[in-house]
Amino acid sequence: MDLGLAGKKAIIVGGARGIGFATAEVLAREGCDVAITARGEDSVKDAVAALKRYDTKVVGGAVNVRKEGEYKDWLAKAVDELDGCDILVPITSAGGGAGSEKYWHNAFEVDVLGPVRAVEAVMPGMVERQSGSIVLIATTSAGEAMGGPQAYNAMKASLVTWGKQLALAHGKDGIRVNTVSPGPIEFDGGNWEMIKATMEKFYTATLRQQPMGRFGRPDEIARAIAFLASPAASWCNGSHLVVDGGFTNRTHF
């Protein structure tokens, strides 16, 4: 099956590591030009260098998503450098945390406003071309009460709702919007690797709940994202795809 991704232009917010980087890599391998951003200058540089091996255009810059001006400037620059944007995957997250009201602000600014501002930046061009694909990234922790009451889950859940709203509103513009909810993903240098060492009981308890006896890998989410982002998924719109190896309990009728 040809995904039809060759020549597309994709922006990945939070693309230097983990699922974001794996997504950028799958897209670049399929022939997309990509723009990535993350907070750390070094990590963006390393990621850009690694992505260049697929011989497409790759640009990147370090940005703090919470700084509105800086972030919007980068988004505009990325659209400009790629000469348009066909695919947007905003994946950046402030992560979890409980016990301080500040976590709500952080999650709102990064997990919610991060995607909102990115969508606003690319939408006019997509509407103009009457074509575009946006994949929002939520979490299985939105659909199931995991990790105790905290901002992360609730804020991520709002993306599922908003994604549906966008899909309905922009279907007429030829723009598809879908949401992917990954389960726990483990990778070298990732947060679950740290949790494995620092909160071993929580790690093993979560691992025990995995039907396949392991956590997911970034590329396993990236391929699902790439499919939804691609023209091959032309009839997928407003969908919410849980990619978790069967981790969550809920049956979707």
Binding site: G189, M194, A197
Partner: protein, 438 residues
């Protein structure tokens, strides 16, 4: 080194520490790369040498001064086959003497702390004063040979430093501060006297006492048995300093080891450090690699508001572990807000066993109710948890001891990260070479 990132740890400029703890790197001693023979850990003969040349010769940590504030308060502590009483006198000085009745050899008191008017043997009620002099022998006239000639229990040198009491089994021992040098100058700025007891535990471990000393004298094992600490401290970029007989290393805390990738969220152990300092990790806007310095700045600015006086400590001491080893058996994890001290004592007869004392003291906020002094707990290895990190050490050490008995093992094959272990054995050698067999 197997690292993923290269880190330059910002350290205080040694020229700026003034009268505080010196921060200079001491020149590394040339100690070669030889094997440390395993018999040092396993043989009864070596154990006897250690007794004759070290335990019976040096100054030893006896206890804590604030456990004996009033005249008659005493600490009874055992070392090897000996037991010692350290007693507060009416003039507030302390005296030490053997814990033994001169009549039939009964021990006067069990190990621990207590308070007496006089020491009366339970057996026949021979009675001794706070200074160890015989005060009363029932039916004295029934001893034609009279009272034992010295009229007292053999006294021992003792002294106080750093809120601790020290004693020696050696009547000719050098002055306490000469033996401890340069530790008093290094550790005075911490003011351990301001800290309060929070834990007092002794665990009987199935290993030689030196295996325990070694376990805390290197950070190389962090990547092996304490993986969680890689998101808490920098086990690679530390400074090792060896002095005449004592040594130290300085480990940056609130740092992520260069052995692991930087995570995208603050590791929970570092969040704990931030909260303890009074910071809200959710509010933290800086880079992961700046947390250590930012915690230091925060504590510097906010410590006084909590009544915590850090004025004599340098910035690094506010976060880092200034980790000292006082020869032969005291390990001190010194921090601005607490002291975690380990005293490692040999078993009286078995080289495969030891006593591991854990003493923890904490600084309190101004006006904070001091906790009740914890009761001393004594248990055997594995019977109770002593906290995750120490449990990891405790789990490992008996296997090290058993393994050292293997015919395929000749001795310790040490690397540069284990320089303190090599230095420790060099000091052991120095004492053995004195040839002063008891």
């Amino acid at each position: 080194m197997d690292v993923r990132r290269h880190i330059t740890i910002q350290r205080v400029d040694p020229a700026t520490t003034g009268n505080g703890t010196p921060a200079e790197k001491a020149p590394d001693p040339e100690l070669g790369t030889g094997l440390i023979p395993k018999e040092r850990y396993t043989s009864s003969e070596f154990m006897k040498l250690e007794w004759n040349h070290i335990w019976s010769k040096v100054w030893l940590l006896g206890g804590r001064s604030d456990d004996i504030p009033e005249p008659g308060d005493y600490i009874c502590t055992d070392i090897g086959t000996e037991s010692v009483l350290i007693v507060r006198q009416k003039d507030q000085s302390i005296r030490a003497f053997h814990n033994v009745c001169l009549h039939r050899g009964n021990r006067l008191r069990p190990e621990g702390i207590g308070s007496v008017e006089q020491f009366q043997c339970m057996y026949h009620h021979w009675t001794y004063g706070l200074d160890g002099k015989i005060e009363h022998i029932p039916d004295l006239a029934s001893f034609p040979q009279g009272c034992p000639p010295a009229g007292r229990i053999l006294p021992l040198p003792c002294g106080e430093w750093g809120s601790f009491v020290w004693f020696s089994l050696n009547p000719d021992v050098e002055p306490l501060l000469d033996f401890l040098d340069p530790i008093p100058q290094h550790l005075a700025p911490y003011h351990f006297d301001r800290m309060k007891w929070v834990r007092d535990i002794t665990v009987e471990w199935d290993c030689n006492w030196k295996a325990s000393v070694d376990a805390f004298n290197e950070s190389y094992h962090v990547q092996g048995i304490h993986p969680q600490l890689l998101w808490y401290l920098d086990d690679v970029n530390l400074q090792i300093d060896c002095y005449e007989r004592h040594n130290r290393y300085l480990i940056p805390f609130a740092s992520i080891s260069p052995r692991v990738a930087l995570p995208s969220i603050i590791p929970s152990p570092i969040e704990h450090i931030m909260r303890k300092a009074g910071m809200d990790p959710a509010e933290y806007e800086g880079r992961m690699t700046d947390i250590r310095k930012d915690v230091q700045a925060f504590m510097r600015a906010n410590g006084p508001k909590r009544g915590r006086d850090y004025s004599e400590l340098n910035d690094d001491q506010l976060t880092d572990d200034y980790h000292y080893m006082i020869f032969p058996n005291v390990t001190l994890n010194t921090h601005a807000d607490d002291l975690m001290l380990f005293r490692q004592r040999p078993h009286p007869t078995d080289p495969d066993k030891m006593f591991y004392d854990i003493w923890i003291f904490e600084l309190l906020d101004e006006g904070e109710e001091p906790p009740r002094r914890p009761k001393h707990q004594l248990f055997k290895h594995g019977d109770k948890s002593i906290g995750l990190v120490l449990d990891q050490d405790a789990f490992n050490l008996p296997n090290v001891q058993k393994g050292m008995h293997s015919s395929a093992f000749e001795g310790l094959w040490l690397g540069e990260q284990e320089l303190r272990i090599r230095h420790f054995h060099k000091v052991v050698d120095d004492y053995l070479a004195k040839g002063d067999v008891a």
